[in-house]
């Protein structure tokens, strides 16, 4: 499986953000997007997810499910967490588990994902009362409640403490080592295994 972008050109409101970008991410690999604020990381990830239609260029997932779009084969974690304040932690995770239709043994899967991000003791806690980092962890737990081959993560470690960042890195490493692929925008060195870095600033200067 391989995620391929060819000669991407992306505009936002008459400004050209990405101009002629090509890259490929193979299964088992993570691509780390870096670059200054406003360079276009979020824009690129949202284009990959299918929300933004590129001005020009091709995005495809070779070896993926042809019936589904790339977005439908991806977990998208953006700057927001997709956590509902009035549901409890377990209800939030449970909803995404059912909605994303994991098909597999759900209760243990939910429990495992909450445990991975250290939320098991907070299961019955209303999400409204979570701290910023706990809420982010709940947002990230979505990655594990259903299997999807592509992970598109936008600054996933924002407001996480060191221990939780390491749990996230472990989750990404697990994912890539079991044949998944990931594209991750970040400002911090993450220490991922099997990762390549794409510096959008360098790329822009070259263009």
């Amino acid at each position: 499986m391989q995620l391929i972008a060819e000669d991407l050109v992306i505009d936002r409101g008459s400004r050209r953000i990405i101009d002629g970008l090509s890259f490929a991410v193979k299964a088992g690999e993570a691509l780390v997007l870096t670059g200054a604020n406003g360079i276009g990381k979020t824009t690129l990830l949202r284009t990959l997810a299918g929300f933004i239609r590129p001005f020009r260029g091709v995005i495809r997932l070779d070896g993926g499910d042809d019936e589904l779009t790339l977005g439908e084969q991806s977990h998208v974690v953006g700057h927001t967490n997709a956590v509902k304040s009035s549901l409890s932690v377990a209800e939030n995770a449970g909803f995404w588990n059912t909605y994303l239709d994991s098909g597999e043994d759900s209760p243990s899967r939910i429990a495992a994902s909450l445990r991975h991000f250290g939320l098991e003791d907070l299961s019955d806690f209303p999400a409204a009362y979570l701290s910023a980092g706990q809420k982010r962890r709940l947002g990230l737990a979505r990655l594990l409640v259903a299997r999807r081959p592509v992970w598109l993560l936008d600054e996933p470690t924002a407001s996480l403490d060191t221990a939780s960042s390491e749990r996230l890195v472990a989750a990404v490493n697990d994912h890539t080592s079991s044949g998944g692929l990931a594209v991750i925008a970040t400002h911090l060195p993450l220490g991922l295994e099997r990762a390549r870095t794409l510096d959008l600033a360098a790329q822009r200067m070259a263009a």
Binding site: S86, G118, E120, D121, L122, D124, F125, P126, A128, D161, T162, A163, S164
Partner: protein, 255 residues
């Protein structure tokens, strides 16, 4: 020497005291209720104008009085919570709201049922009726607001604010509705126009209903205190586990 409110401020003391008081109040309410009913049905005449339907008065009027009195109690409790932070004030306000709403509802219902034979319709948009209806809405608003808020202490203070706003607006409403429609039935002066033969049963029923309300209010407050203890114990159990986990996580990070 502690004042009564000071002594009552301690929920434990309140539980003790209320447990002792409750049987007496309920008993008195029961006895008065039975004798009131006897007086109402067997020892009082039918009205020369209203016929037998006047017997509705013996429940309608106590309910109507209570509907206002209970709101006053809620407003007082709210004041006690916001100004003096009296620990039992919110328990009292929360316990009283559904009871007050029930009495208001009963006043409306019995009034309507009385209105059909008397005025030929269940409902007229008369001043007194309209202001009671709005009082009922204020009760509904209080309960709805409380149930929509999760954080209990915030809910207590916010409903208290609403109750106090309501209490300042109520006289304005009463007065505005009076103005708006002057067709309403002239309010009879109870003490002078009601025949003594009906005054006694009415009085007995009124006292009985008031005692009944206080009995129910005490019981509801006791329940509420227990509910809060249960809730506190539950969250403490969670908190204990979580604190250990947080320490463990931090330990892991430090190493």
């Amino acid at each position: 020497m502690q004042t009564l409110t000071q002594r009552l401020a301690n929920p434990a003391r309140f539980m003790e005291l209320s447990a002792r008081l409750l049987p007496w109040i309920s008993g008195a309410a029961g006895i008065l209720l039975v004798s009131g009913l006897y007086l109402a049905f067997f020892a009082s005449p039918a009205d020369y104008q209203q016929g037998e339907t006047v017997r509705i008065m013996y429940i309608h009027v106590p309910c109507a009085w209570l509907s206002m009195m209970v709101y006053g109690l809620i407003a007082l409790s709210s004041f006690g919570l916001l100004v003096f932070r009296h620990p039992l004030a919110d328990v009292s306000a929360k316990a009283a709201a559904p009871l007050g709403a029930a009495f208001t509802f009963l006043a409306l219902l019995t009034g309507s049922l009385w209105g059909k034979p008397m005025w030929g319709t269940y409902w007229v948009w008369d001043a007194r009726l309209t202001s009671v209806l709005i009082l009922f809405f204020l009760y509904l608003g209080l309960m709805a607001l409380r149930s929509a808020l999760e954080d209990e202490s915030a809910a207590a203070k916010l409903t208290a604010i609403l109750a106090l706003v309501g209490v300042t607006i109520l006289p304005i409403i009463k007065f505005s509705v009076d103005w708006w429609n002057t067709l309403h039935q002239p309010s009879t002066d109870f003490t002078s126009t009601v025949d003594p033969s009906m005054r006694l049963p009415l009085l007995v029923m009124a006292v009985a209903f008031t005692l009944l309300f206080f009995a129910m209010h005490l019981k509801a407050m006791r329940n509420e205190i227990l509910r809060r203890r249960v809730k506190a114990l539950r969250t403490q159990a969670v908190a204990g586990r979580d604190r250990l986990a947080a320490q463990a996580a931090n330990h892991g990070a430090a190493e």
